[in-house]
Symmetry: C2
Subunit: 221 residues, 2 copies
DNA sequence: AGATAAAAAACGGACGTTCATTTTTATTTG
DNA sequence: CAAATAAAAATGAACGTCCGTTTTTTATCT
């Protein structure tokens, strides 16, 4: 047999990783055997080792690929935000985080697998220095908002935005993976409104809030 | 041998569970064998099965015991809060949640094990209906605060308090388990101040904030 | 034929659990 | 008080299965 083309190899790997991902998510990493993966991917057991040196390597490859996807989707979300501290944009952030959690709920399970089995070595970058990253993306917007007097005195927008981001994430993860069905006692829509309001009122100046009064008043929790 | 006394059995089980807990946390559930547990607990392999019918049962017993402890500690925390929406009390809540996460960081790892291996069946109760529980604990305080005009119009204190609780939890969990070293770009103290301020300013009326101005002004992030 | 992919078989070890056996000890007996 | 008893506790070898990985064999292409 001649050497497979690069794309053919990539295609094979994709099917293997898809099968492995589904199994890891459904039954965990340790509970998933190489035989399970080979069966689901319709690849012989031995042949798996022509593509990956170890079982761990499959997991790592899945995560690396996934991280890229998530990274892009997050970038798209942030690109859609022109004025990060504006209430309507904060809410939009929440909405999009919700969609992201929903769309890739398996991904976050992999994160927990990583925490438990690999001491989070693959996912560390997700949270490490996240505030600085937001500062890089929105730094000038934050500064403008401050110079316009949109923020309460003494408020640094970057950690607030990060906190909002984290809160939205956590809300939907708890809803999706931890069985807290409507744990805020609100529908998702209401919860988004409630959280948005907290962060808006919590950090915006009275002057600025008046400006957004009309929008903000629609955020009835 | 006559039957062991109830307390002797409890003592034995405690040592077994302590050993198992340490191993589960260090290397995960599947990666921990019954032989590992028996060695660490200095109990013979077979004898383990005189105390627990299966390996799963050991895990379940650990969680049940742990849930009780955490439940009590949480109760103590909430008992120490007389006025839940007061900024200083919100901050105290955050501090205590931080201590709880720190003291029992292994417990939260078990929670992730439960999510992955048991579909969170043992931990569901942690988040299910949590807002209602807060309403039961602080309902009258929430009502009083509202009638005093401490809250912004339209703000329901219960989900806000829950959101604050969740945010504090998430903050410390990310710090402790997900390697987000100072992910808000702040020290823990500063982060507590920052988050407290968000929730205080986010939900308290101007009138009420003036009342707490002195305390609130010490919350410099 | 020669090279490479794919499949199958084989390997050594570890797994959860069982079980026949031995050890332990509170109670009964002399 | 000491010896015998009986029931429970403790043991560790053994069981059958499955694991990740390696090696060998077979099939498939230029």
């Amino acid at each position: 047999m001649p050497k497979l083309s690069e794309s053919a190899i990539r295609k094979r790997k994709d099917t293997i990783e898809a099968a492995a991902r589904e199994l890891f998510i459904k039954q965990g990493f340790h509970a998933t055997s190489m035989r399970d993966i080979s069966k689901r991917a319709t690849v012989s057991l031995g042949n798996l080792y022509n593509y990956y040196p170890t079982k761990d390597a499959i997991f790592e490859s899945i995560i690396d690929g996934y991280l890229e996807i998530i990274d892009e989707e997050l970038k798209a979300i942030f690109n859609g935000i022109d004025e990060p501290m504006e209430p309507s944009n904060l809410r939009k952030l929440g909405e999009n985080v919700g969609l992201l959690v929903d769309k890739h709920s398996d991904f976050w399970l992999l994160m927990y697998i990583d925490v438990l089995e690999f001491r989070n070595q693959h996912f560390r970058k997700m949270f490490d220095g996240i505030t600085d990253r937001f500062r890089k993306i929105f730094g000038s917007r934050f500064a403008e908002a401050e110079s316009r007097g949109d923020l309460r005195t003494g408020v640094d927008a970057a950690p607030v935005f990060t906190a909002a981001y984290m809160q939205f994430f956590n809300y939907f993860l708890v809803e999706k993976l931890f069985g807290g069905n409507q744990h805020l006692g609100l529908t998702d829509e209401q919860a988004l409104n409630c959280l948005t309001k907290i962060f808006a009122y919590g950090t915006l100046s009275e002057k600025s809030l008046a400006k957004f009064k009309r929008e903000a008043s629609t955020l009835t929790a």
